[in-house]
Amino acid sequence: MRNLLLQGLLKRPLTEAPPSHVDAEIDALGARLADLARRKLGRSISIREVDAGSCNGCELEIHALNNAFYDVERFGLRFVASPRHADLLMVTGPVTHNMREALERTYAATPAPKLVVAIGDCGSNCGVFAGSYACAGPVSSVIPVDLEIPGCPPTPRDMLEGLCRLVEIVSR
């Protein structure tokens, strides 16, 4: 235990070592996002994730945003437990009929600026689940969507890039 803690203190953080190509890019992306958010929105961004019918693949990659390689909290992106604390909803999945009302209510509980990002192919066009009796449709058919980040699932990097674009779009 002590060793591990000591190691944590003595070792350099993973995000710098190893300084691989991808990590350098992620640092740059994140820094840009943090800067944009602060300048344009005047604050960091709180995110509420809503699974509206996903296969759980997208959730796994959203989770990865918090691991030490991406560690998006350092760019001011925070995942919060309640929509009432959120600036932005990250919504995954084709919206199932059984989740539709829960999504609408979550959206209603979110304060301004109420940004919505639809994650994954399912979020933007229902993916392989298109045409099912059980799906209400893509996220945009249920609540207004500001940006779609395609992919099945989108990688953590895709999501960071997408969030940069989003801040640029909404601050125009």
Binding site: M1, N56, G57, L60
Partner: protein, 502 residues
């Protein structure tokens, strides 16, 4: 021959069913089999419908036999299996919701996946339009003065899937938990109807995204069994590598998350680094972090990257010492031990009764692993289900930590002995055929049954997630624990919502 095949010896056998025999049975025989399963003579592998009949897959582990019984409902009714065997309850409710076949004498007739929102009923049978409306749902009662209820979900506080939990608590102590699921029902069985094999394997790989490799493999093995082909040796080995990488990634992620739920986030930080390393190696070797769409009936979609062997060897070399550290810490922190030991106890009896697979079953002493038996390539029979059997959160974590060690060793072995040669055989369907398979996902055994038409399209596919037989046991395991330990218990089961909701 064991009792199962002996009982069925005079029933009409459907010759096209492979590799396990399927029999058409009458109501008497159906109920006899259900009663025997209820008495513990067999494990229920699944209970499903395809709109024409209801099917009961049973496994007798003593005599190592598996058989499927099929009953054609009369006036849309069939004798209830759940009346004899409780684990069948939710599956029967699902069958009624989707196919409109009702179980006679069913102990629970409430809808399950159908929340009244589809605008129709019996989507897999003869669909009838009904207005979409809010349906009240009658939760089971827990009576008495000091009891109060805590409703949780469907939207939860974390980044997890949706479902509803209704707690009845006496102060801090949970007296009853009742789950209500079905929120992410996407209608996968109907989506797969009359679609090409390629389209269906893509859907199968998205029934539960965390187990995409296992699901695609289960589907592929069922199709291969139906047609009577085997994937080339190299493809089998690559499938094995992918399956073990998937197991590693999930085990790392969950061990970390469980420790986090026990307020020890240090382990989570380290475990999630290991998980990310596995995902990056998967991307580098197979071109996708979760390895979606890599397995196809007949083999694999693409070969491993040319430097794949080096990448995987380096991966294991890197994560093994790091994980040794984590194990040591896990074992030595008192606060963590206090939270996890004797928390969320699941008895062996229940695990056996529900044929509960994966680490949940194994941690309660049900030594079953589909890789060992019935078995499939590239695994050999020498594989032993591992770990402790105390049935608590702690045991479930230890089982997974031991499996991590085993998976790392398996990857090394598979990489070292990787055969060369082809990676895929062409799949050609000429006649109406059907096959089943049982694959060990990280969470437990996934049962697949696929029926193919002569034109090569899928007539019906059923994939039963291991969670069907784990979710109900979470209700039992939480009883008597404090509400605040629910996240910990829940995470130590980590049942799938999407896989269960279909």
């Amino acid at each position: 021959m064991g009792w199962l095949l002996d009982t069925l010896r005079n029933a009409r056998r459907i010759e096209r069913a492979k590799p396990w025999p399927r029999f058409e049975v009458d109501a008497d025989m159906w109920s006899r089999l259900a009663a025997a399963t209820g008495a513990g003579d067999a494990d229920m592998l699944s209970l499903w419908s395809d709109g024409e009949a209801v099917h009961l897959a049973m496994m007798n582990r003593t005599a190592r036999e598996i058989a499927i019984a099929s009953f054609t409902p009369v006036d849309r009714r069939f004798p209830s299996v759940a009346a004899h065997h409780a684990p069948a309850q939710r599956l029967e409710r699902m069958i009624h919701d989707i196919y409109g076949f009702a179980a006679d004498n069913s102990p629970d007739e409430r809808p399950w996946l159908d929340h009244g929102r589809w605008g129709l009923r019996w989507p897999g049978g003869t669909p009838e339009a009904v207005p979409s409306a809010w349906q009240s749902y009658k939760f089971l009662e827990a009576g008495g003065a000091p009891l109060h209820q805590i409703p949780v979900g469907p939207v939860h506080a974390g980044i997890i899937e949706p479902g509803h939990f209704r707690f009845s608590a006496n102060g801090e102590t949970v007296v009853r938990l009742e789950e209500r699921l079905g929120y992410v029902h996407k209608g996968v069985e109907q989506l797969m109807r009359r679609k090409s094999i390629d389209a269906c394997v893509a859907i199968a790989g998205r029934i539960s995204g965390d187990s995409t490799v296992a699901y695609a493999l289960a589907f592929a093995l069922a199709v291969e069994a139906a047609i009577g082909v085997e994937a080339p040796k190299r493809a089998q080995a690559l499938r094995g590598i992918m399956g073990e990488l998937e197991r590693l990634a999930n085990h790392f992620g969950d061990v970390g998350a469980i420790c986090n739920d026990a307020s020890f986030s240090l382990i989570q930080a380290h475990c999630h680094i290991l998980r990310e390393r596995v995902l990056r190696a998967s991307q580098a070797c197979f071109g996708h972090r979760l390895m979606m769409d890599r397995i196809r009936p007949g083999g694999v979609a693409a070969d491993m990257a040319a430097d794949g062997e080096a990448i995987l060897t380096a991966l294991v070399g890197e994560i093994r010492p790091a994980f040794d550290h984590i194990r040591t810490v896990y074992d030595s922190v008192n606060s963590l031990q206090d939270r996890r030991v004797r928390t969320g106890l699941l008895s062996r009896n229940l695990a056996e009764q529900f044929a509960c697979g994966g680490y949940v079953g194994r941690a309660s002493g049900r030594a079953f692993d589909a890789r060992q038996w019935p078995g499939y390539a590239p695994y050999d029979r020498s594989l032993k289900p591992v770990g402790r059997t105390a049935g608590d959160v702690d045991a479930r974590v230890w089982v997974r930590m031991d499996e991590i060690l085993a998976s790392m060793a398996m990857i090394e072995r598979l990489v070292a002995d990787l055969p060369s040669g082809e990676i895929r055989h062409e799949i050609a369907v000429a006649v109406d055929c059907e096959g089943s398979a049982l694959v060990e996902s990280f969470r437990g055994d996934v049962f697949a049954r696929v029926r193919l038409a002569a034109d090569g399209n899928v007539t019906h596919a059923h994939l039963r997630d291991p969670s069907w037989f784990q979710w109900p046991l979470l209700e039992a395991a939480i009883e008597g624990n404090i509400v605040a330990d629910f996240p910990l218990c829940n995470k130590s089961f980590n049942c799938s919502y999407s896989g269960h909701d279909l």
